[in-house]
Amino acid sequence: MHAAAVRARSLIGSTRRLPIVPLLILALLVIGAVFADVLAPHEPLQVELTNALQPPFYHEGGSLEHPLGTDELGRDILSRLMHGGRVSLLLALSVIVLGGVVGVALGLISGYAGGLTDSIIQRAVEAVLSLPTIMVALVFVFVMGQTYASIILILSPFVAAELARMVRGEALSIRRTNYVALARVAGASHLRVIVHHILPNVAGTIIVVATLQVGALILVEASLSFLGVGVPPPTPAWGLMIDGGREYVATKYWLSLFPGLAIVLTVLSINWIGDWLRNVLDPKQQML
């Protein structure tokens, strides 16, 4: 069929408007997390057994002093949520930066060089992607010790692999275009071609994938701390809070509910924004 008149698609209008809702939610969460020291009503680590297991403010027995209730050691849940958020955010960002740099670099090299280099890197990437993230992280952190460093270290390869895979695909197709060939003919070095020609065009993909990976990372980190191999105690972590509330779930549901809601809201907002970004930056995909 002729391209001219037949393929006149119009973009779905709604996807181009800025998604205010998730941005607001995210802004709220980030501010709460970053300024937890200042904004939290109580000390997250302050144990007060007399206050233990207080219900949220909307139940009988609850009060606005502990709006989301207290846990089994009397610690204020809201404050712990805010501090936990900060931890999650910091971890996620660190992993994204480390894994991102490595992943993008590998992807660019792999896509640009092609041939044997590409094959080797691709096999490695596929192997990493075929590993069950949580299991491997579980073992690794256990073996290496429960520190921020070990968590960041074991999660970065997964992010790197995902980015490498996406970037490679794009780099591969850009490499074949005419303007890259022209640049090389004009004497540009490999590095210059990569940085000046390929990188700007994959920037969109990088942003989208990185955003979505942040969401995935928060989930993984929550799972790890749920299993007890997350951030070292006594720092509050959402996953850990959920685990702590497990035995009380029948009657004191708020211990597990609120941290979970926090996770859901955070990841939801991030994924929402990520999907919107994907639609904006690559309307051809039109997925979700």
């Binding site: 075929s130 993230t133 579980l138 073996v143 029948a250 979970g260 859901v264 979700l288």
Partner: protein
């Protein structure tokens, strides 16, 4: 087809070698596994004895060689309680495998119709709904969902059981908890795949032949659209193995995930090593099966 099969098998084999090597080095990274197995307070002689028993005092390449040759013979060593690791793993494998399959069924039952409806009614309320469901599904951590499901269905409503072994009902909650996250991916993939296919020339040709819409959608569009979804399902099972670690913990499900957790807590090294390898093997096998299925369904690969 024969050549394709051979190359895929080779790839799978290489993958297995790579992963077992990776696990080997992963587990020995700290330099002294014996120190982990026993606390730092244990006397040195005891630790040395343990190291000798486990063969940890031998040079690395010797350890690697005996490890790999053991793997080939399907000997994964013994657990610290004496039982052969392989036996322990095999005993727990069915529980995890059946759960992963159940989760896949859940994900497909929910995701497939959502995706198809989304494509055919693009832009409508149904589309928006399924997109929201998809978005939501990817934002909920499996373990928390598991706990909430237990709360709602087991405790409050008393419909479904919590523990393993009370028949097929016991599969319901855990498989939903695991499969839920994949509904999003499957629905999304089915949707975009269907949209691509619906605009293709052969679908237009099918309509031009005056075929009724259900024949166009199911026989022509769907069969082609389903192929990428199959590949995706393979990946999805991998993520289920991931999710099973946490979900099995919540439901006290006697599978590989919980085994790994217990082994990690109990510092039972060989079991941990074996579990990770087994899961990787499982995953690679599933991928291989999916690839072969793909080749079977797309005659271009089969005869091409």
């Amino acid at each position: 087809m024969g050549r394709y099969l051979a190359s895929r098998l080779l790839q799978a084999l290489l993958g297995l070698i790579f992963i077992s090597t990776l696990v080997f080095f992963l587990v020995r990274l700290t330099g002294d596994p014996a120190r982990i197995l026993m606390s730092d307070f244990a006397p040195l002689e005891l630790r040395e004895q343990l190291a000798e028993r486990l063969g940890l005092d031998r040079p690395l390449y010797e350890q690697y060689f005996s490890y790999m040759s053991g793997l080939v013979r399907l000997d994964l060593g013994d657990s610290f309680n004496g039982q052969p690791v392989l036996d322990i793993l095999l005993a727990r494998l069915p529980a995890t495998a059946s759960l992963a399959l159940a989760a896949l069924v859940v994900a497909i039952i929910l995701g497939l119709p959502l995706g198809i409806l989304s494509a055919v009614y693009r832009g409508s309320a149904i589309d928006m709904f399924s997109r929201s469901v998809a978005l939501f599904g990817q934002s909920v951590p499996a373990f928390w969902l598991a706990i909430m499901l237990v709360l709602i269905f087991s405790v409050i409503l008393r419909i479904f059981p919590v523990a393993f072994g009370t028949g097929p009902e016991s599969y319901v909650l855990p498989s939903i908890a695991i499969g839920w996250a994949a509904v999003a991916g499957i629905a999304r993939l089915v949707r975009s795949s269907m949209l691509d296919v619906l605009d293709s020339d052969y679908v237009r040709m099918a309509r031009a032949k005056g075929l009724p819409p259900h024949v166009v959608v199911v026989k022509h569009a769907f069969r082609s659209a389903i192929i990428p979804v199959l590949t995706f399902s393979g990946l999805v099972i991998g993520s289920f193995l991931n999710g099973s670690v946490v979900v099995e913990t919540v439901f006290a499900w006697p599978g590989l995930g919980k085994l790994t957790m217990d082994a990690v807590n109990g510092r039972d090294f060989p079991v941990v090593q074996g579990a990770v390898i087994m899961i990787a093997v499982f995953f690679i096998t599933i991928n291989l099966i999916v690839d072969l299925l793909y080749a079977y369904l797309d005659p271009r690969i089969r005869y091409g």
